[in-house]
Subunit: 377 residues, 2 copies
């Protein structure tokens, strides 16, 4: 593994090179890095300003580096840096690229055209995304990472057991649930303003590097920014080469890296994921047909009743609302737990909705353990 290591004496290791990414990569020897992590401009194409419902202004990404005249120019740029990245990558190396729907399809298509072999597309589900303020689309709550080998016959590294251990001993899936980079982790300038508009969380790079590299592997980040990749590489005792155009970012990243202490030889990495609570929206039971649309529900004493709508609301006469709201409204109560208030009929018996929720959770659990057993056996 890590065939790139033999060449490492020629490489500018553990440095962040100031310069344009394509021309700087040209100075690196072919096949010299084990892994590339790239967070290129997304080509967001934001138009006007956007305000929250409270009229505060959203601080959008309006930096020059994210401006491209059209799709063709973005494609040219993408093809150029991916071509160099592929040259620099060891034959058994892998590349990670992160993006959103604005650019990820360009990137994926060009990766395939250049001969990269896609291994997974990974979904970073954000625990705390920015909401959609105008109610005109689904909340954009994820970003996509593509993980690809240099070619179809690359004998790439994947630390299967480490990923499984990181995920409570079930196989790591292609959807990762991680919070945004906020709070103390976010680098700020002297005015307390964020230093970089798109700083990635350390947890994301931690998982990426832990999955696809080993100690002393060389990781190249052609769009280093504030240096999350170098910082995590140093912490996990990988070597890094950063490339960054803006001198301020180079400086900030290098001092950030200097603050990192590499883990000790015997340090066992057991970072726990922030686990997701198994919330079951009532609507999902309706969608999945566990409770047919049009079913009539009533309270235990059958004093009030309501009908299930396709969107998971209940209707009673002119009143419509969630299972909780309508229950409260019909009983003139300040609040109501719809799961225990509303009952449905099954085999001549009236059962609370909560029974369905339990069954749905039970079902999910069974499926998970079956998957686990299948994977183990």
């Amino acid at each position: 593994m890590s065939g790139a290591k033999s060449m490492s004496m020629e490489l500018p290791l553990d440095q962040i090179l100031r310069g344009e990414c394509v021309e700087t990569m040209r100075t690196l020897p072919s096949g010299s890095v084990d892994c590339v992590f790239a967070d290129p401009p997304y080509n967001l194409q934001l138009r006007g300003e956007l305000r929250r419902p409270d009229d505060s202004l959203v601080d959008g990404v309006d930096d020059d580096w994210d401006k491209f005249s059209d799709l063709q120019e973005y494609d040219r740029f993408t093809r150029a840096w991916l071509t160099e990245a592929r040259r620099v990558l060891h034959k058994d190396g892998t590349i990670w690229v992160i993006g959103s729907y604005h650019n990820i399809f360009r990137i994926g298509a060009i990766l395939q055209e250049l001969g990269f072999w896609i291994l997974n597309d990974i979904v970073w589900r954000k625990s705390n995304p920015m909401p959609n303020f105008r109610g005109r689309r689904f909340t954009n709550a994820h970003e996509t990472l593509i993980w690809a080998a240099r070619s179809e016959d690359s004998r790439y590294r994947f630390n299967y057991q480490a990923m499984k251990a990181l995920n409570d001993d079930v196989q790591m899936r292609s959807d990762w649930y991680l919070p945004l980079c906020t709070g103390n982790e976010r680098l700020r300038n002297e005015h307390g303003l964020k230093l970089h508009p798109t700083q990635k969380p350390e947890s994301l790079l931690h998982r990426v590097l832990l999955a696809s590299t080993t100690v002393d592997d060389v990781v190249l980040d052609p769009f280093t920014g504030t240096g999350t990749t170098p910082a995590m590489a140093r912490r996990l005792r990988r070597r890094f080469i950063g490339i960054e155009r803006h001198p301020d970012y180079v400086e900030a990243a290098m001092s950030r890296v200097a603050r990192e202490t590499p883990l000790a030889d015997d340090a066992v990495v057991t970072t726990q994921d922030k686990r997701e609570a198994p919330r079951v929206p009532f609507g999902s039971l309706v969608e999945r047909g566990l409770l047919p649309v049009g079913t009539v529900l009533c309270d235990k004493k059958q004093r009030v009743s309501a009908t299930v709508s396709p969107d998971g609301t209940l209707v009673s006469g002119a009143k419509r609302g969630s299972i909780h709201k309508l229950g409260a409204q019909l009983t003139n109560a300040p609040s109501c737990n719809g799961w225990t208030f509303w009952h449905f009929e099954r085999n001549g018996e009236f059962l609370p909705l909560d029974v369905l929720r339990q069954e749905s959770l039970e079902q999910a659990k069974t499926t998970a353990s079956m998957a686990k057993a299948a994977a183990a056996g």
Copy 2:
């Protein structure tokens, strides 16, 4: 909305047309469908299924086939059917395409090149994915849907409130957690084997159709397969046009559709978006005496106040304007929703103007249904 409806007399509605998708779409008039849902072949390995735009079969390239030419064939095929889909789509219509990392980047890139405007990429997280048996990659636990409008300036439909209701009254996110199609829902042949390798779950189509179409909208599915789209369209009282090449699937899908009972008129209604509610001019409330001229209104915290004029404007000192304009002016805000900003007193309580508007709409609804009842009886 549903501008496509006016053309519906010429359309083969609620049918599944047997034929190749491109040439069959060519028989449909331009701008005639409100929504397209497409689950195209994922390909890249299933080369036997590939056809050129002229529907001729691609030569069987075997051992030493060239991947690049294979990609190109897939792109040609994709461009051909997406071009026809775009022609058939109404100018305000939207398209959904589902795929995996094998093909979704080709599809997304071509969608953008054809002028579609991506609204969201949606991640279908599978509650019960197939585990990765080799342990060489992350468990492929999701598929991706792209939701796109026909063009950047399409005034597309998004049933925001219905989606919010379906998700326990928080905005629906771009990641959906749904089980695979299994059990009774899965169509099987006489030997108990699954009829189709990639039958999609009904819950997925339920959400798709509920989000982006309304009753009587026309939905086109150019790769109908076992007919999940037609079945859900019928259940939710949308119209459908299916296209499917294999006669066995056409037959299975049509008999499946026949088993569906459309929801009743009042059962199919979902939570309405406020934008679609009939507009109530503030002046009409004043006219009808629901709010006497001279009433003093104030904001919730009683920092500013204004008096109701006979023409429905508000006056505060030397300033005069609509409920929205004056609210914005007095708070130095760029805009203001006067219905929720201004409050009036009733029984010692301060209520937003919106309460009056709701009451007026409620009243109108009651009157309308009484008139209907009177006419019927």
